[in-house]
Symmetry: C2
Subunit: 227 residues, 2 copies
């Protein structure tokens, strides 16, 4: 089960570095021959071709891949690939970048599980720091991955939260008392996020809860839910 990265630009390269750090199998689809030639020495496994074409996706192993990362600079290209990939493989996890705010929903409709907007983040950042620098700095320094003993935010899927398969209300988990962590978000089965969900909210099948805590609290949480 490998990862397919479409596009070896700035974002694609960053994703690849992390995949290498995690010893994940991956392949990169890149249509610029010069880029392929330049980086082949670094042992990046390239498929030279246009990911817009189904044959190239199939050559990249889309039918058995676990994840597709669309990191092309054009939202239209990413949309095309997301739609094609989703038709070929229903189980695939699809992550796409987007430049325009208006592309976010379109990419989700086309079948992307996650849509990330790196430019918006960079721009909003310098912008927000003028008005609310403490908030920006606080959120930036929250660690979502990396060293075990530094993580501040974690997600737990329904099947771990309600391991007996029975849907429960957030307040019935008693997660703050048991682990110290606080629930700050809920990803509904349809993919929508609820910020700061009500204690009475029922955790549905195929949903996820998102929690914040200090590293030792996150470790208690992982132990409690066996993740």
């Amino acid at each position: 089960h490998h990862v397919i990265v479409c596009g070896y630009g700035r974002n694609g390269k960053q994703a690849v570095q992390k995949l290498q750090a995690y010893n994940q199998d991956f392949v990169v689809v890149e249509m610029d021959e010069h880029v392929v030639d330049r980086f082949e020495e670094e042992k990046i496994p390239f498929i030279h071709g246009n990911a817009n074409e189904d044959e190239i996706l199939i050559e990249a192993g889309i039918e058995r891949a676990s994840t597709l990362i669309c990191a092309l600079p054009s939202d239209a290209d990413n949309l095309f690939i997301v739609l094609s990939a989703r038709q070929i493989n229903k189980e695939l996890k699809i992550i796409s970048r987007a430049s325009e705010e208006t592309s976010y929903k379109k990419l989700k409709l086309a079948g992307a599980d996650n849509v990330i907007m790196p430019d918006k983040i960079g721009g909003e950042h310098m912008a927000s720091l003028v008005v609310v620098p403490d908030l920006v700095e606080f959120l930036d320094n929250l660690s979502v991955s990396g060293e075990e003993d530094s993580i501040n935010v974690e997600q737990i899927p329904f099947e771990k939260v309600c391991s007996d398969g029975v849907e429960k209300a957030i307040q019935d988990l008693d997660v703050r008392k048991k682990t110290g962590c606080s629930i700050i978000g809920y990803k509904a089965p349809n993919g929508e996020y609820i910020v700061n969900p009500e204690p009475s909210l029922i955790i549905k099948k195929d949903s996820k809860i998102i929690l914040i805590g200090r590293p030792n609290q996150i470790e208690s949480l992982k132990k409690l839910y066996h993740v």
Copy 2:
């Protein structure tokens, strides 16, 4: 009370755009003559010179400025300016960018109130989305500034939280019951952040609490604390 922006590169430009949007007075210190010539037509108020020199900072009005944004590409240059500026004006709010993780503490020691690392954010982003895409997306979509009716994260300073000047424990605020918002962070008087503070934590003078909520909950919060 104006803002001084040092450096009109990618980040400096983004900050300036937001300052313009908020109708904030500002001046930009830039040493590259070509940049000054190119953007002067756009009515950016430039001071042409090196912000490393105290005379240039004084020419930019550092003694009466409210905020300094150091957005130079070199951490060493930013550090030099932060230290100089802090010596000239003790009351100034100083925000600096940094490229290297190791510069964060140094810039704070030199007198920066906030340190932002745009490259780290971009890099960590594409990286984290491979392992925890839902968390990345959830945090990205939290709104910290902009439209009143879209904000999800807010900070309240001690003097608003405890308007009688008496230090109180977090649990005694009853802020969840009163507004629906949840406290997710605490900025101590020494500038350090505590993620997910304990309910028993005493809110000290010169500190801030950081809260998460849906836009209507954030509005109740602002009403409650008159911010």
